[in-house]
Amino acid sequence: MNRIGALIWKDVLIEARSRQFIGAMLAFTLIVIVTLNFAFDLIREQRETNGAGALWIAILFAGLIGIGRSIAVERDRGTLDGLILSPIEGGSLFLGKFGAALLSIIVVEAIALPVFAALYDLPALDPLVIGIVLAGSIGLAALGTLFSAVTSGIRSREVLLPLLLFPLLIPILIAAVRATANVFEGDRDGTLRWINLMLGFDAIFIVLSYLGFGFLIED
């Protein structure tokens, strides 16, 4: 735990000082939320469904900006070898990078959700919505961190990462959009099965990433 904590502490400290990713993630999220708000304003009767979609588009792309480069930055700087040469296991390295990525998404969501709630006039600060957003973010951060490692050594990684990541994220995204729309529409009972589905995929992604991460970052 000490090593995983050290990795998270290091990434949080670097991000707090450089604001390399969170600034871009936040700006992108707010731009998407504001732009889609104007677009969907014309169809008020579908506001709940469209709002849920807009929220998850914003979270998904903001996540890609930040998480997609978490390993690539280490490789570009040459510091990835330093992490590989430390006696930390691949799985623990994954958990450290995953933890830091998840924290950065949560920070962005903490700012974006109140803005979304105000603009769309939807209950985005409902505890159930916050839980759904958290469950979706866990899956996004887990897969994003894994595929950041897969693509970090490839020159065209910015193109390849979404191509690899999006198809695998589809189950979580569908569940997240449906669960969020259900809460917005007031159907709280129908939400639970979607949340369970998301948590199931979260668990699968975390376990697979934990087991495979070490092999992916080695030469």
Binding site: I14, G78, L83, L85
Partner: protein, 237 residues
Amino acid sequence: MVVQMELISKRYGRQAALRSVDFSGDAGTVVALLGANGAGKTTLLRIIATLTQQDRGRYHAFGVEAWPRRRSIRARLGYVGHRPFVYPELTCAENLHFFARLFELDDAVLVVDRALQHAGLADRAERPAISLSRGLLQRLDLARATLHNPGLLVLDEPDTGLDVAGRDLLRQLMRERAETGALVIFTSHALDFAIEASNRIVTLVNGEVAADEPSAAVTLSGLEATIHGLREAVSVA
């Protein structure tokens, strides 16, 4: 033997980086690995450091086969590469504390303070690494690599960017590490420095070991002839 390698070969595509290299190193020794650009020095160091796996040959470190047991070997290994493994946004002290936590060192505060003192960076402990010059950054990276008291220290051109005082510090550090029972292997393009700082010199030419002799028996002109003369002879052939 800390390091024992037999018939190590490594290719990158069609290019052979190492051809059937035999290399060994004992505790308490400082070995300079010399050669022209592209001779295979960095590839050999990366294999020794378990960062790269050889295509062929046997490599044992600390008495065990290296690649399958690389995790345990890495805990006893210090490595300085071409680029420092330190984070520019963190201070010197924070960088060392981070690696102290990764290696789960006892008395991390004491160990880090001592490492900063030893590297001549005590007065810059709270400065971000990005503010350091190339030479001071190299000192910080050397402090990072030796923080956990490694039994095998692998240094790829560690004298790059160092001034005279920095080179003296590096020479002293390598000697101290060897005196405490470590094997130190380094590469350098400064041949005079390599002769002074090492006990033994291994010269690579076109991915093969061309010479392996005690430093005391080596002259600067002889070394230059081995590195450059043999290389030209091979390329002509």
